[in-house]
């Protein structure tokens, strides 16, 4: 089906690059005339079989980034600039009919709240069959075999009973598991999990991350995991990408970022993670101030008015994302190169 002429195998340090996002800009044009720059120049790439964690506060543009990749940004929102190369093909220039074939089949999206992402009036079986039939006509029995396989993938064995039931009969964690199974029905190359654990309890979170990990290990699918929880990315990701106010502020391999964060925002985020085993009297440090008003961003660095290291230039000029070490990119005028997280944080 894919046109071979467009398919250019991109090479990056000898590794297969699955997804490459270049200078993506998605803005929302409000009826009042204001423009919300939800995603404003995001660049990253993802290798085959790897996990990328996108982390940031609410409203930092994480979800809009994932929706832009799927091209399902809603009405006043518009992708105005950039390139999304998926297996060498630019998704942004594909006609809608071709894009529809990629959604759910080559790229799947897992939603935040499993209690609302299922149609309450259809049984689980009907929904999985529907998910399959969106793309291909196939007999019900054949699809049921595939359903049994994807259920096994996420650790559900007795599928016969489950497919006859309605979503409301299951717990949120279990529904999320089923949703992961549903998004794996075509074994996509890329799985985007948009805060898959945010609405779940802490023990269930671990189970879901484990299920995602199993799926990744067994199928070789690449995963983008979007979250605001360092616990999630620290368990399960190869690279981390920190977003703030629609921009990337730091991107790095996981371990380096967690041990040696350089951007003041990343440092603040890591310092604000509570730890059970931390020394008793230590208080958590929060980042002062509030996330910026997206309709009214500061002129310079968006983080400048909350940053403890800010100098004059930070209020005047937006820092560019520069690679200061191999694989380490940072957008800051004064990166904290020598900052070390406490060893007892042991993330």
């Amino acid at each position: 089906m894919e046109k071979k002429s467009i398919k250019v195998s991109e090479q990056n340090n000898g590794k297969d690059v699955l997804l490459k996002v270049k200078d993506l800009k998605t803005h929302f044009f409000l009826p009042s005339g204001q423009i919300v720059k939800a995603v404003d120049g995001v660049t990253f790439s993802l290798e085959k079989g790897k996990v990328l964690g996108i982390i940031g506060e609410s409203g930092s543009g994480k979800s809009v980034t994932s929706r832009s990749i799927m091209r399902i940004v809603e009405a006043p929102g518009k992708i105005i600039n950039g390139e999304i190369l998926f297996k060498g093909e630019n998704l942004l220039t594909l006609p809608e009919s071709e894009m529809a074939k990629i959604r759910g089949r080559r790229i799947s999206l897992i939603f935040q709240d499993p209690t609302t992402s299922f149609n309450p009036y259809m049984t689980i079986g009907q929904q999985l069959i529907e998910a399959y039939r969106v793309h291909e006509k196939e007999s019900e029995n054949k699809i049921k075999e595939i359903i049994a396989q994807v259920f096994k993938l996420v650790g559900i064995s007795d599928y016969e009973d489950i497919v006859k039931r309605y979503p409301c009969e299951f717990s949120a964690g279990f529904r999320q598991r089923i949703f992961i199974a549903m998004s794996m029905i075509f074994t996509p190359d890329l799985l985007i999990a948009d805060e898959p654990t945010t609405s779940l309890g802490i023990t269930i979170q671990a189970e879901i991350i484990e299920a995602l990990n199993d799926v990744k290990e067994r199928t070789g699918t690449s995963v983008i995991i979007i979250t605001h929880d360092f616990g999630v990315v620290s368990q399960f990701s190869d690279d981390i990408f920190v977003m703030y106010a629609g921009r990337c502020v730091e991107s790095s391999p996981k371990k380096e970022l967690l041990l040696n964060p350089m951007h003041p925002y990343t440092i603040g985020l890591i310092r604000s993670v509570p730890l059970l085993e931390a020394r008793k009297t230590k208080r958590l440090k929060s980042i002062p101030g509030f996330p910026p008003d997206m309709m009214n961003l500061p002129i310079g660095c968006a983080f400048s008015n909350r940053c403890e290291f800010a100098q004059d230039i930070c209020f005047e000029k937006v820092p560019d994302l520069v690679e200061i070490r191999p694989n380490r990119k940072i957008a800051c005028h004064y990166p904290q190169i020598n900052y070390q997280t406490n060893q007892d944080t042991q993330i």
Partner: protein, 289 residues
């Protein structure tokens, strides 16, 4: 599953859901009466019989077993009139509800899908006007201007019922449209048409279907009201309200002429409501046990 097990499952279901069985029984009997009314009447419903004026039902003293439910002021058999009346009332209610569902759903779906737009505002203002207009006044205006035939009655009753459907359908389309599972369907690659039919359309049925029987019930009452006010179905046609209004002058001495059709209306309304209730729980998996 073969036919036999399906049948026994069905019977089990009916045994468990007593109220539904009762409601279904009433509705089926009513439909049966409405369809075969002409062959069920023991007498010709419009035939006068001056010898047996104002006969009471047979169980009351002075009743005649030939006229089971008695006769009215000019000696017409009440049971025969009742059967024809059920046919007329139920037929009119059914058609008016069907046509209001059709109109209401069409307008509601269009309005909900195009939601923030001028078309939505225009349709909704029309609906508002329709809802704001007192029904009785509207009925009197229309039915005195045109001939009050069954057809014009259907139109008046449709006019009174569609705005509710339009409103309800519009809001459920808007809810469905912005729901996460429609979003998820988009992310799964479903086309707009597929989402409209398979997701939004499908999810509207649980909104419409349970309401329909209850709405038929309320239209039966409204229709009888119109006929009772003598602006609805006109003699020689017979409707339940019509029979009741015939007995209006005799209500203190010959109660049965008014009371029995009233009782029949009550039974039909209860039956339809019981069915509607059960449909609601059946269509909503969250209410199912």
């Amino acid at each position: 599953m073969n036919f036999k097990t399906k049948l026994s499952n069905g019977i089990k279901y009916l045994q468990k859901n007593k109220s539904f069985s009762i409601g279904l029984g009433i509705v089926l009997i009513t439909i049966f009466i409405a369809i075969f009314a002409d062959s069920l009447t023991p007498h010709v419903p419009s035939k006068l019989n001056p010898k047996f004026k104002l006969l009471p039902p047979f169980w009351v003293e002075g009743g005649n077993p030939k006229y089971i439910l008695g006769t009215d002021a000019i000696g017409r058999d009440l049971l025969s009139r009742l059967i024809k009346g059920i046919q007329m009332s139920v037929g009119i209610s059914l058609f008016s509800v069907l046509s209001s569902i059709l109109i209401g759903t069409t307008i509601g779906v269009i309005s909900g899908l195009v939601h923030p737009s001028w078309l939505d505002s225009v349709l909704m203002r029309i609906t508002d006007i329709q809802m704001g207009f007192p029904f009785i006044v509207l009925a009197i205006i229309i039915l005195t201007m045109v001939d009050p035939t069954p057809f014009s009655c259907i139109i008046v009753l449709t006019l009174s019922a569609w705005p509710t459907y339009a409103r309800v359908i519009r809001s459920s389309v808007m809810i469905e449209k912005s729901s996460d599972y429609v979003d998820a369907a988009k992310a799964m690659g479903a086309s707009r048409a597929r989402i409209a039919i398979k997701y939004i359309g499908r999810n509207l049925l649980p909104t419409i279907i349970p309401v329909a029987p209850m709405d038929i019930a309320s239209v039966v009452i409204t229709e009888s009201l119109l006929s009772f006010m003598q602006i609805g179905i006109q003699p020689p046609l017979i409707s339940l309200g019509n029979i009741m209004s015939d007995g209006r002058n005799y209500i203190s001495t010959h109660w049965w002429i008014t009371a029995i059709p009233g009782f029949v209306i009550m039974i039909i309304v209860i039956g339809l409501n019981l069915v509607g209730d059960t449909l609601q729980t059946t269509f909503d998996p969250k209410l199912k046990q």
